[in-house]
């Protein structure tokens, strides 16, 4: 009887030692490769340039833009208010915790969408949610928002509405051509006002 207990105890100790030898899983909370593949099939990670433009114009506080290109590219041009976090540093910072709140919408972008998607996959493996990719990247941004092309006159109403929105957005983001045009149109008015003031001044 006693002997048998010793045997059982020895067996349990061996199992316990086995537990010690087991390799440690360094990141137990990582998404598995199969989960990543499943995420890849879900197109909801993509956000259109129109949607980003709309959120920027509305000054949506939940929008967090992240430019994953090199610092050097970022100096040349970036979206308004975008944070610059180059792809090689995407894991270095604890930026996701500091920038991405529960309801925030982190949107990654690069010149196209390849690098942004690579960054997205890395963050997805770390099990971060609310991370999105701007479809088409900055090239698409310039093609659709900054320099939109007019749809044919036979186009559906939706498409024409979208074009109207993009034209407005282009003016908003470049701060440019159209307001200057209206200013030019308003110039005669300004001149008249000046005349008026002169008249009033003269009257005083």
């Amino acid at each position: 009887m006693n002997k048998a207990y010793y045997i059982l105890a020895a067996f349990l100790i061996i199992l316990g030692v086995g537990l010690l030898v087991l390799p440690e899983r360094d990141r137990p909370d990582e998404a598995s490769p199969r989960e990543l593949l499943g995420d890849l099939r879900n197109p909801s990670r993509f956000i259109s340039t129109d949607k980003v433009a709309e959120m920027l114009i509305d000054k949506d506080p939940t929008l967090v833009l992240v430019d994953v290109r090199d610092m050097y590219d970022n100096l040349d041009f970036s979206l308004p208010g975008a944070h610059s976090i180059p792809l090689e540093e995407i894991l270095v910072y604890d930026w996701v915790d500091s920038l991405a709140y529960e309801k925030s919408k982190v949107v990654l972008f690069s010149n196209s969408d390849i690098k942004a998607e690579q960054a997205w996959l890395l963050l997805k493996r770390e099990n971060h949610n609310n991370i999105h990719v701007m479809k088409g990247g900055l090239n698409c941004w310039f093609e659709t928002i900054i320099q939109p092309t007019a749809p044919p006159e036979t186009a559906a109403n939706d498409e024409i509405d979208r074009y109207e929105f993009r034209k407005g957005a282009s003016i908003y983001f470049t701060g440019g051509s159209a307001p200057i045009e209206t200013e030019a149109g308003a110039e005669p008015v300004v001149v008249r006002r000046k005349n008026k003031t002169q008249v009033v001044e003269g009257g005083c």
């Binding site: 009887m1 048998a4 045997i7 059982l8 067996f11 199992l15 360094d26 990141r27 990582e30 598995s32 490769p33 199969r34 990543l36 593949l37 499943g38 890849l40 099939r41 920027l56 114009i57 590219d73 040349d76 041009f77 970036s78 308004p80 208010g81 792809l87 090689e88 894991l91 690069s110 010149n111 196209s112 969408d113 390849i114 690098k115 998607e117 690579q118 996959l121 890395l122 493996r125 770390e126 990247g137 900055l138 090239n139 310039f142 093609e143 900054i146 320099q147 983001f173 470049t174 701060g175 440019g176 051509s177 307001p179 200057i180 300004v190 006002r193 008026k196 003031t197 002169q198 009033v200």
Partner: protein, 214 residues
Amino acid sequence: MQFKHPNRSFVAFVITFIVVIVVGLLTLNWPDLKYQLSLEETVEQIMLEEDQIFPEDLVGIIEYEDSAYVIIDVRNPFEYINGHINGALNIPTNSLLDKENIKAFKQYATDSLIVVLYGQDQLEANGPWMILKQIGFDNFQVLMGGYHYFTTGPLDFYDMPEVPAYLVEEPAYDYYGIMEEMGSTSFEDAGSSDQPEVVIPSRKKKGSVVEGGC
């Protein structure tokens, strides 16, 4: 009846105990796919940008039926039937990690074959490449420009512009130039500060009218 003997009941207990542990170990769900690269190593691999194949290089590989290459189409079967690159196999993205495919990929690796992945565009094959890379397949490459460029774009080296269209991460526009041309003086906060800047001068003029009126 036999359990009345203390030793025997004890032996039965030990045997069931061992059986439970062995069954537990056997049915334990060991992950069959494990990451071979850590996240940091993956970033390093991405930054190298080595695993991308130029479309003009693939033309030669197909022409000479280079046996060192396997071409895999990751698009769905309908797209594949409607047209695909000569000699390509069809393994849609969602079945890439199926057991028989993983087995085949391991065979390719031992035969030191290079596997070229392509989708409709480069993006479609990029995700699958990254996942396969992270689970330890080093012999996969992505076709730049994807099927779309391969069937439409110029593939003759001498016909190509200085920056071919398949280099999608290259800026297609002169961002700074366009923003400047369109009137944005400081592009960085084009949305927030430039717009008021345009409005403010006219308001000042209005103000001067009021001042003058007094």
